[in-house]
Structure formats: structure tokens, C-alpha cells
Amino acid sequence: MARHAWLSSGVLIALIALAGGWLPPWLLPQSTIALSNGLAVLGMIVLWRAGLVSFGQALYYAGGAYAVALSERYLGLRDAFLLVLIGTVLAGLFAYVAGFLLARYRGIFFAMLSLALSMILYGILINSQTLGTSDGLSVSRATFLGFKAYRDHYSWALFALVLGMVWLAAIAVERYNSTVAGSLSGPMIDNELRIEFLGASAKKLVHLKVVIAGLLTGAGGAIASLSVEHVDPDMAFWTVSGGFIFVAILAGTASVWGAFIGALMFEGLRTTALAVMPGIWQTILGVALLLTILFVPRGIGGLLFRRRKGAAGAKP
């Protein structure tokens, strides 16, 4: 994508981050969590462009989150940037290892196997007293390059941090989509054999995608843990992955920004439904999902960025 577009989006993001200081204080943590989920959803979309749906992203989400909690507890670290980096890298490592197994599968079995792996982590976490069992671990407030943020400023700082990560992630994924590896995503759905004839290895491609998705999701989990100030095994439960898939449908594969807008909309929908109609909030989400599938099949991203064509995205 053209450099100036990245600059302009960067400026826009910076302005939003700044505006965070003037938004009502309860909006910031919620948006931070939504955007963290957006990172995970972006990871899902990277996989989805190649026809792979992972039911186990929660593995990396929890991995990133617990890495933060454990780094604070046992390594005494407090710097937000460092913690998020550690969370991202650890999740990426999980993904790298899991990728050797997952890259051999497609379709439903890829989905099921990824689900199994995340539920195994869930079981391990529940049974581990050191890791807090089902109560989880608390996460203390982080500092930002030595600066301590107080009260509402902490939410603001995290909000700015997640926005920064969103921008970086969006650039990275767009870049990836323009590479040979990324461009082969769409063709992979149609016919893997032809890719192999081109000299590429489908397995390596999938492995790479799993790692990218793992890194993104781990980053999301790490920031979420700092925002909620808590981690627990439920972060590895399959319904968390289900939530990511849900938002991925809302978002569509057309544009990287769709993931984040979709995540924000989903969070808004969920919290409104819970506040206004607590007895049927699940129905509201279900109906929203159906309506999206019926009427907006290419997702929000498809709606807003109509210039983009095709599953792999067009180059300008």
C-alpha cells in the first residue's frame, strides 16, 4: 500500500489515541479490550484468507496473557512494552510448535485440532495450583518506559498502546498480503496442488500463517491482561475462540481495518444488549450474526472498503 496512506492512517490513529484523554473514562477500557480482540480477529482473518478457520486461537490469547502475569510475578518485570513483547513472543513460540502439527490439516480437522490444543491448555491451567487454577492470577499495573500512570491515565495509556499495536499490526499484515506468501492465500483455497507446482510449499505457508495469527492473538491477550489486570483459564476456553470467529464474520476479509471496526461494533452490541435486555442478550447476538451473514456477507470490511477486490486484497 502506498506510503502516504500509512502515514495518514498513522496520524489518524495518533489523533484517536490523543482524543482518548477526553473520552468518558468508562469507554476506554472497553475499547482497549475490543481492540485487543481485534488483534486476535486479524490473526483469524490471516488464516481465513487461506480457507482455514481456527477454533483454538484462545490458546495463544491465554498464552500471551499468562506470559505477562508470570513475567510480572517471577521476573519482576513491570514495563508495559516489554511485557506485551514477551506475551507476543511466547504466543508466537506456542504457534511455532503447534504449527508443525497444525500445518498438516485443513478444513474441519484443522478447526478441531486447534480446538483440542486450546482445551488441553485449559485443562493444564485448571489443574495447576501454581498458575492459580480456575481463579487465575492478578496482573499489576505496568509502567510505560519508567513512567507510572495514575487512575484514568492508566486506561488512557493502555488505549494508546493498543492503538499503536493496531497500527503496526495493520501495516504488517498488509505488507504480508502483498508478499508472495500472502498473495498465495486465495489460490490456496482453490487448489493447493497448483501452489505446489509453483514451487511453494503449502505446509510452510500454513505454518507461517499459524505463527502470524499466534503472534497477533498473543499480543491481544497480553494487552487484555493488562487492561483487566487479571488472567484466568477461561481465556483458553473454546468459547473465546468462538467469539473471535464471530467477529471475523462481522469483519470480513476485505480489509485489515475491518477486524478492528468489527471488534468495536461487537463489543458495543454486546454491552448494550447486556444492559438493555439482560435476559435475551444471547438472542440479540445470534440475530445480529444471522443478519450479518445474510445481508452483509463480506462483512463490515467489505462494506466500508469496497475498492478492495478479491480475497487476497488488491494492490493499488
Binding site: W26, S134, G136, A224, V228, H230, D232, M235
Partner: protein, 432 residues
């Protein structure tokens, strides 16, 4: 709030009142209380619904001034209570987010709620950051105040440790020759901690009793076939369980159907909860606890009489211990609030003032007095009653006999000590 029609005289009175005399009359600002309980998911039947019922009943009665003394003042020191019922369900991130929304978006004054231990542990630091008075009504985890201390968080009900310690004491008193015991507890922190506390208590009180089987079925699945077979094979005389709600009902039904309870006696630390509904199916001779003195284990005092009568009248069933916990939490809040208000001549107290009044407070509940004696004055302790169960076929009613009430200092660790440490050291300082 609707302002009533005013004559010029009333208008003059209002003008005079606003000059600085204490505001007693129409329209003191309401106190907004958020009540997060389980409105969806597996805990609704056992916890959410009874708690919601209790909250509705008690808050309405408080506003009307219908509670027995010393709780008969209307509202909280005259200020009417506005109840905001919220669903506690969802991931921890959702729970924390919604908590922050309640405080910052909906501007509630107090939060009274939460059952899930993971939520309580996650929320306590957040409550302190936001400086909002939070009364945890039912979480059982001992980690809440073992692992941290808080300024604005209070818990009226004691941690689950006291249930298991009391059970062990009861066994020492009634069945001192117990040779061995097994446990079946749900596989998450509640079950794991209860089992740990029971095992350690037994080690301290009945060191000759051996541990047979330690089972941890998956919670909310209701599959106990293999577990019951294992227990049948082991043949332990005593089986400890902190299973609750649907799981407990299922386990009891299947265990009795397969004859497990003919040779093994069940010790159900939270069994009181299912007696109203399943009394017929709970085997006679089971040892039942109720997380304090609630339900069938409660005292006969005025508060309990009022609560039992009115709850039954409105909801056609007896209240279980979660309902009692909600009652106690609201009573504690009222007592603290009114103490703080009295110190100000009746004016509305600030959050800090209520928190200060709540710390170390002693107040009366349906189960007797609660003393906020642990967790630097933020954790309540109370007596714990345990008894043996029997179903009276003639009257078709569940009954308890051989009730023993243990003083709070007997079954709770002293201030400053964690449950695990206290138990491992053999319960030093216990006054039984």
C-alpha cells in the same frame, strides 16, 4: 423523582431546609446499588435466582422500613435504595468491564454481588482503584483476603475454609474412629480448595484417618458414573463433597440409586442449598453444612423469622444460603451506612466514611452476629452450624438433628494468617 405538588408553605419549608438543616424529608438523593448475580448459566437456579429474590425482597422492605430493629429505618439512613440488577455471567474480562461501566458510566454508589471466585479475585483491586464500596456477597474463596488487602472491598460471609474445618470437628465429635475418607469435589478452585482445607483439617484433628480417593469431576457436566464406581470400590466410610447446585443434586440421586450411601456417609459442606427442593432424595444420616448458619441451620432470631416468612410468602419456597448471604450483605451495608450517617448527624456519608464504619463492624444477621474480624476488618466471621440430616416422612419435611454450632474463632484462621498456613500448623489459636 417526582416532586409532589407544593403549596407556598411547603415551598417556604424547602427553602428553609436547604439553608443547612439536615435533609430528612422528601427526596434525599437515592443510593444506587448494583446487584450483580448470575442471571444466566448453570448457577442461576442454585445461586442467581435465590439471590435476586432476596435482593428484591430485602431492598423493597428496607425502603419501606419493614425490617425488624435495628434495621427498621427507611432506606439507608433515610435515602431510598435504587436497585440495579446485573448479570454476573461472562468471561472475567466481561465482568471487569461491566463492573467499570457500572461505576463510571452508570454511577452506582455501591456494588453488592458476585459469586464466582475468579471474578471476586479479579475485581477487588479494581474496586479499590475506582474507590467504590463493594460488598462481595457469596464468593467462597479464601484467596480473596489471604492474598491481598483492600480498602473498599468487604465480604460478610466467611471463606469456605470454615465449612471444612467445622465438618472435620463434627466428625471428630461424632465419628472419632473414622478410618478413612474420600472426596469428590468439582474440578476448579472451589472444589480444590475445599478438599485441601478438609484434608488438612482432618490431618490435624483425626490424624489416623487415611485418604482413599480424591476425585475431581468436571463441573456442570453431571457425569458421575465412573466416580461412583470408584467410590463404591473404595468403600470409604466418609465421603466429603463441596459439589453444589445441579451437580450436587445429580450426584446425590445417582449415589443413592447405586447404593453408595448405604455404606458411606456423605459430608456435604454446602448441602443445605438443596434441601428445600431435594429433601426427599438426600440420604438420612448425611452431614450437612450451610456456609454459616443459614436456612435450616439458622437461629430463631427476629431477622430470620422475618426473612423466612416473607421469602416463603413471596416466592413459595424456602430461602437457601445464597439468599441468606445476600440478606447478610445488605444488612451489613445498612448497619455500616447508618453508623456513618449517625456520626454525621444523619447526613449522607461518603464512601470513605461508610468504609471506615464497616471496618471491624459487628452486626446482627439471621445467622447470629457477624464480626468483621479478619482481612484487616474487611472479612466477616460468624458461627458455623453443622448437623445430621433426616427426612421426616410423616410431615414430608427435611429436618436436621444433632446440630453443633462452632464459634467463629474455632473454624476461622486468626487475623493475619492464611487458611493454608493455619491448617498446616494444626490450627493454632483456635478457640473451640
Amino acid at each position: 423523582m417526582q416532586m409532589p405538588k407544593r403549596s407556598w408553605a411547603a415551598g417556604l419549608a424547602v427553602a428553609l431546609a436547604s439553608v443547612g438543616t439536615p435533609a430528612f424529608a422528601e427526596g434525599p438523593a437515592p443510593v444506587k446499588i448494583a446487584v450483580p448475580v448470575f442471571l444466566s448459566g448453570p448457577a442461576v437456579g442454585a445461586f442467581g435466582e435465590p439471590s435476586k429474590n432476596a435482593a428484591d425482597l430485602v431492598i423493597k422492605a428496607m425502603n419501606a422500613g419493614e425490617l425488624p430493629p435495628p434495621y427498621n429505618q427507611k432506606g439507608l439512613a433515610g435515602a431510598p435504595i435504587e436497585e440495579k440488577l446485573v448479570d454476573e455471567a461472562g468471561s472475567t474480562a466481561t465482568v471487569v468491564t461491566e463492573f467499570k461501566n457500572l461505576v463510571e458510566r452508570d454511577k452506582v454508589d455501591v456494588v453488592v454481588g458476585y459469586v464466582s471466585s475468579a471474578s471476586c479475585v479479579a475485581l477487588a483491586p479494581v474496586a479499590d482503584e475506582l474507590q467504590v464500596l463493594t460488598v462481595i456477597y457469596a464468593c467462597g474463596t479464601s484467596r480473596l483476603f489471604d492474598d491481598g488487602s483492600y480498602k473498599y472491598v468487604f465480604r460478610v460471609s466467611s471463606s469456605q475454609t470454615s465449612d471444612d474445618v467445622a465438618a472435620a470437628h463434627y466428625l471428630l465429635a461424632k465419628y472419632p474412629d473414622t478410618k478413612s475418607f474420600s472426596g469428590i469435589n468439582p474440578n476448579y478452585s472451589w472444589g480444590q480448595d475445599n478438599w485441601r482445607d478438609f484434608m488438612l483439617s482432618m490431618k490435624a484433628l483425626l490424624p489416623n484417618a487415611a485418604v482413599d480417593k480424591e476425585l475431581f469431576p468436571k463441573p456442570f457436566v453431571g457425569e458421575f458414573g465412573a466416580e461412583i464406581s470408584t467410590l463404591l470400590a473404595a468403600g470409604s466410610p466418609i465421603i466429603h463433597s463441596s459439589l453444589w447446585g445441579g451437580d450436587l443434586e445429580t450426584f446425590v440421586l445417582q449415589a443413592t440409586a447405586r447404593g453408595l450411601t448405604e455404606h458411606s456417609r456423605l459430608v456435604l459442606t454446602v448441602g443445605e442449598q438443596i434441601l428445600a427442593r431435594q429433601g426427599k432424595n438426600v440420604p438420612d444420616g448425611s452431614i450437612i453444612g450451610g456456609r454459616g448458619r443459614h436456612g435450616m441451620l439458622a437461629t430463631g432470631n427476629a431477622v430470620n423469622q422475618w426473612f423466612l416468612a416473607n421469602y416463603k410468602k413471596q416466592f413459595n419456597t424456602a430461602p437457601n444460603f445464597p439468599a441468606y448471604h445476600m440478606l447478610s450483605s445488605l444488612l451489613g451495608l445498612k448497619a455500616a451506612w447508618e453508623k456513618a450517617a449517625a456520626a454525621k448527624g444523619g447526613a449522607r456519608p461518603t464512601t470513605d466514611e461508610v468504609a471506615a464504619a464497616f471496618t471491624g463492624l459487628t452486626f446482627e444477621t439471621a445467622g447470629g452476629p457477624v464480626r468483621m474480624a479478619r482481612g484487616k476488618g474487611h472479612q466477616g466471621i460468624e458461627e458455623v452450624a453443622i448437623g445430621t440430616y433426616a427426612y421426616d416422612k410423616k410431615t414430608d419435611q427435611p429436618t436436621m438433628h444433632d446440630l453443633v454450632t462452632y464459634p467463629a474463632e474455632c473454624v476461622n484462621p486468626p487475623e493475619g494468617m492464611t487458611s493454608a498456613d493455619w491448617l498446616k500448623q494444626g490450627m493454632p489459636g483456635a478457640k473451640c
